[in-house]
């Protein structure tokens, strides 16, 4: 490999006075004015978080449909795969790379019990009819449960609500209407937010995996996100709620999701992360990559950076 000879030592150039700390102090002053000005005039975004209670109150049909899917084990989170469970719905692979499967289940989530049956079991302590419905459901065969849930899901397709009452057409759905009616009552009271947060059985809790997965399976949270232009196809990673800038520095990461072959692949996330990993590594290793490291020499933007130096160099050459 041909090596370029090292450039001249900076210490051997003509020098000028330079006050490093004064420059830092001036920069601090300018940034302080900018930061305080922007904070005072524009404040910062803070749209209240969604809650399961709000979801159940504002969109009971979507809430009950989601809860029914959870009970049937048919939701995305119920079938997700690692790190939550042994499903396969969200496993992504590329070539010989199966990292999601290699790492396995580390945040166990049991949608059927955590999201529906366990909260209802607690609520049944003061509701004998709910206790009976639960016993009927859990004692039934798997085929019977599936048939009840399928019938109820079909009936939900024509369910109506007046804002307070959910009316689901009658069907051969056994105890499922009673279970879902109670799930809705618990959710509307705010109880399900707390029950899902404490579903791991600990008093102190900062892990929102269960409630956020449950909310992610429904349409309420994504509806609010769409209103705020936060969805992937809205370049949502770069946006914030309101009219504030988001993580604009992730524009390249977001761009891959909009173009083929990424946006047509079922392994889109893994492909995008691998691509960004390779590009990040290339950025780190720019000084050692022929071509990439030579571009600044080929495109003379450096002549703008050191305009005075090159003007003097040209004058000396005359």
């Amino acid at each position: 490999m041909r090596r370029r000879s090292p450039g001249p030592d900076p210490a051997r150039f003509r020098t000028v006075r330079y006050d490093l700390l004064k420059e830092l102090a001036v920069a601090m002053g300018v940034i302080t004015v900018l930061v305080f000005g922007l904070a005072t005039i524009l404040s910062s975004p803070d749209v209240k978080p969604d809650t399961i209670q709000r979801w159940a109150q504002e969109d009971p049909v979507d809430f009950v449909t989601t809860a029914t899917n959870e009970l049937a084990g048919a939701s995305l989170s119920a079938q997700y795969g690692p790190p939550y469970n042994n499903g396969t719905a969200s496993i992504q692979t590329w070539w010989v790379l199966h990292p999601q499967e290699w790492l396995g289940v580390h945040q166990p989530v049991d949608s059927v019990n955590q999201f529906v049956l366990d909260p209802l079991q607690k609520a049944s302590a003061s509701d004998p009819a709910l206790g009976t419905a639960l016993t009927t459901f859990t004692a039934a065969s798997s085929d019977k449960q599936t048939a009840w849930l399928a019938a109820y899901t079909t009936a939900l397709g024509t369910a109506t609500t007046d804002g307070t009452t959910l009316t689901v057409p009658a069907a051969d759905d056994g105890p499922v209407p009673a279970l879902m009616s109670s799930e809705l009552v618990v959710a509307r009271s705010g109880g399900l937010d707390g029950l899902l947060l404490s579903s791991a059985g600990t008093f102190y809790q900062t892990d929102y995996t269960a409630p956020l997965l449950f909310m992610g399976d429904g349409g309420h949270l994504s509806g609010l996100a769409m209103d705020q232009h936060l969805l992937g196809n809205q370049w949502g990673v770069m946006n914030e709620t309101g009219r504030y800038p988001g993580q604009a520095w992730l524009w390249l990461f977001q761009m891959w999701y909009q173009i083929p072959p990424y946006n047509t692949s079922t392994n889109v996330d893994l492909l995008v992360v691998l691509t960004m990993g390779v590009l990040s590594l290339a950025l780190i290793l720019v000084p050692f990559i022929p071509g990439l490291r030579d571009i600044p020499r080929w495109i003379p933007i450096h002549r703008l950076i050191w305009r005075r130096f090159y003007a003097e160099q040209k004058a000396r050459a005359r």
Partner: protein, 233 residues
Amino acid sequence: MITNERHSDTEPTSASSSVGPKAGGWTGAAARWLERRLPIGKLLPTRQPYYIGSWVYVFGVVTIAALAWVIASGVILAFFGPQWWHESATGRFFNSLHFWSIQLFFIFMVLHLWGQYWAAGWRDGRAPTWMIGVVIFLISIITAFTGYISQQNLDAQWIAVNAKDAINATGAGAFFNPLNFGQMYGLHVMLLPIAVTLLVVLHVIQVRLRGVVAPIGATDADLVDGGTVETSP
């Protein structure tokens, strides 16, 4: 290490005043290494090559100034806890300082990165400086990501729910769970900012020790041997 040797009133107290090149044990050796590798004249210079009179050198120092406000506002927010800024007007103001200083930090860091790219700032043994700089950029992105998730609002909820798939797809979801507020908050206020700050200090030391890279195409003909001094007006 403390030994039982008697202290002499005439014993040298600094490596530089020690007798002999190997005096002072490990401490003396460390002091001599630091004096040799980090001379104060290079760390805090009062003169620089004349070619640094360019706008491109401003971006690095303003990035550091923005980082100072990111850290200062972040420390206040962390002290009062993650709920505070949602309930208090003062807290909201400090969150706004944090929000805008982060935006400025990234804007100037990216400008600094581009400036150094077009200046080919890695030349003449400065590749480690460039590499550490890019690592700072990448860790800053992760730090900001954990910050957005720690906001405890709608944006935080959606980013966590949406981002989990990309993280899980790589297998990293096994140990990095964006739905776990406690983990994200801990990383955001402690480990990641410490990493960014230490790497920025290392980056600045690297810049100071090597000096500012000479212009592309500079030759010995551009030098003034002996460092003839130009007095600033």
